[in-house]
């Protein structure tokens, strides 16, 4: 199992930094194959649907659209098995981000291995913290930290209990 901080889910929110962690299975782990999927090669998909669309941009013949989509050349992609968000203060360190990722990885994997519902049965319990006072200075601190975070890669491999 491994995790990565997914930069495109990281943002300032309510004076805190929202971090997105993505968790991936490694070969041989429970239901590893289920996290692979076939998807059209991006350059082919980007050429766009050649059929007719209505005023909303919807294909007028959905079966034709689906046939076009299904006919595109595909490649295998590896998906996360779970995504988790945390809200942290802007003085968080790189080491703490990595610690959070590893810790949540273990909790997420326990859920996955037991086929638990992440919404209701999970072992991942985010705890409430008091709201912070949202000032421009606070937002600037968050944005500055986010800029720093987005220049770095946060990931850890071969995580086991």
């Amino acid at each position: 199992m491994h995790f990565k901080v997914n930069h495109n889910g990281c943002k300032e929110k309510n004076g805190m930094i929202q971090l997105r962690f993505d968790f991936f299975l490694d070969s041989g782990e429970y239901k590893y194959d289920s996290t692979y999927y076939q998807y059209p090669i991006q350059s082919e998909l980007a050429k766009g649907y050649p059929g007719e669309v209505d005023e909303n941009g919807q294909p007028t013949d959905y079966n034709d659209y689906k046939n076009w989509f299904d006919s595109l050349p595909k490649e295998w992609k590896h998906s996360q098995f779970y995504g988790h968000f945390v809200y942290v203060h802007p003085d968080i360190t790189d080491e703490e981000i990595l610690f959070l990722g590893e810790w949540i990885s273990l909790l997420a994997k326990r859920n996955w291995d037991k086929d638990l519902d992440f919404r209701t049965d999970g072992e991942i319990k985010n705890l409430p913290v008091p709201k912070v006072k949202i000032t421009q200075e606070r937002i600037d601190l968050c944005e500055s930290k986010l800029t720093d975070i987005k220049t770095k890669t946060y990931e850890k491999f071969d995580i086991t209990e």
């Binding site: 997105r20 669309v53 996360q80 779970y82 995504g83 809200y87 949540i104 919404r119």
Partner: protein
């Protein structure tokens, strides 16, 4: 604390809605006021720049946004679960989403309705177009309790 749920469910549906639209689902408005902490999505094609939000419509088609956040990229073809979120919701709010690219799966029958507007209107009010009986693949859950944000406590 009571449980909150909003939205029809993230399921494998028959159709795919065009991207770069804000869509809200009229099925199963939020039953309580509190926080949505988990969102499930099912997309037909991979999403990028996916955002989710809550808004009040009062039975009409004009939105009063409540809260929103960015999810980012979303894998298609299966139910994707995102936890740990901190999204405000009021009783009666609808849950909605905006994908910069990628398509949400939807059904055009069996539901209450879906509201559509071209562009990202999760944070600003606008008038939506209603598609009666539609529903798309989104589901949010959480719990009541005010003035709370969520994080993992170290130690």
């Amino acid at each position: 604390m009571a449980s909150i749920d909003v939205g029809p469910g993230a399921e494998d549906r028959a159709n795919a809605w065009v991207s770069a639209r804000t869509i809200y689902d009229e099925n199963n408005p939020s039953n309580e006021t509190g926080k949505i902490t988990s969102v499930e999505l099912w997309m037909y094609s991979d999403g990028t720049g996916v955002r989710v939000g809550t808004a009040a419509f009062g039975g009409g088609t004009s939105s009063t946004p409540n809260d929103s956040t960015t999810i980012g990229n979303v894998t298609s073809g299966s139910k994707q679960v995102f936890g740990g979120l901190n999204l405000d919701v009021e009783s009666g709010d609808l849950i909605g989403a905006y994908p910069a690219t990628g398509q949400f799966e939807y059904d055009n029958s069996g539901g209450t309705g879906m509201l559509n507007a071209v562009g990202d209107y999760l944070d600003s009010s606008t008038s939506f177009t209603r598609f009666s009986n539609y529903e798309f693949s989104i589901y949010g859950t959480g719990s009541t309790g005010k003035d709370r944000s969520f994080m993992v406590i170290i130690g």
